[in-house]
């Protein structure tokens, strides 16, 4: 949904409401590092291809949605968009959304301080417990572990 669509009162199609809410935290995490590169947008849409939540959406539409959410965050502020996403999702899907955000933030095997801070804010808005957030960090860190940084293990952080 573009800015102009929103001004005209357009709502996203019903089958895009949950997918957009799941994507919002990941897009917000990407923006913590500046304007996302085309590669990052493609990474997120690629990640979505694995999730049953996005199975009904074409890859091109996924990439378009990422750009639309990015514009919404820029226009209306990350906190507003994130709070709306949290209100749209049941607790279980808020966990899913946080997994996506952490995965995108850790895509290159490291997590810069600004993205780490953004993830803390996102976890708070999504209402995740410290234990759940730590478990997610731990396993996503395992998935994103590089071959030559065996100590990139975030267990114990809280």
């Amino acid at each position: 949904m573009s800015f102009l669509d929103r001004l005209r009162g357009h709502q996203p199609p019903a089958d895009e409401i949950v997918p957009r809410a799941i994507m919002a935290p990941a897009v917000s995490a990407m923006l913590a590092d500046g304007v996302p590169a085309a590669e990052e947008i493609s990474q997120l849409s690629n990640l979505c291809l694995f999730s049953p939540i996005f199975a009904h959406l074409a890859p091109e539409r996924l990439a378009e949605m990422v750009r639309e959410i990015q514009s919404e965050i820029v226009d209306r502020g990350g906190r507003t968009v994130l709070e709306e996403a949290a209100a749209t999702l049941p607790p279980a899907l808020r966990e899913t959304a946080f997994c996506f955000a952490v995965r995108i933030a850790m895509a290159d095997g490291t997590i810069p301080a600004n993205e780490e801070k953004a993830l803390e804010v996102i976890a708070g808005i999504l209402g995740l417990s410290g234990v759940t957030a730590t478990t997610i960090y731990t396993v996503i860190a395992m998935l994103q572990r590089p071959a030559d940084f065996p100590d990139m293990d975030l267990r114990g952080r809280d």
């Binding site: 990640l47 694995f50 939540i53 279980a92 997994c99 395992m142 998935l143 071959a147 990139m152």
Partner: protein, 148 residues
Amino acid sequence: MSFLRKLAGATPPADEEIPRAVLTPSVSAIMADGDMQSPEVRMLSNICAFSPIFHHIEPERLAEIVRELIAEVMDRGGATMLAEAAAKLDHGLRETAFCFVVRLIMADGKIGEHEKEALKKIEEVLGLDSGEVAQIYTVIAMMQRPAH
């Protein structure tokens, strides 16, 4: 590394040794349920595209490595290949390899009986403790949750 290259004594390039070892459990798990189909090869290559372990490898080469591992598992057996892979990886990368397996197996949202057995064996060969394994299942299941 193809069967012919293996017969000829060829060894994989040094920068492919860890990536191949990380991929071996995934290939072995999927083959537990029959031959690996090309959508699964594509899915595995896609998972790898996100991992820094594979960033230096071109997508075409990655798909080729997966096909080579399938041939090797068929020639030499999954158990031998798994034990060799485990010996090459430190504990952290064994966890990573297991995450890949679970991610791949749970891609369709469910785990079949053959796959459960295969996962159990892989978990043992990789020497993971039950707490780590439970965390991995929990988070991968979160990632694969459907909307309803």
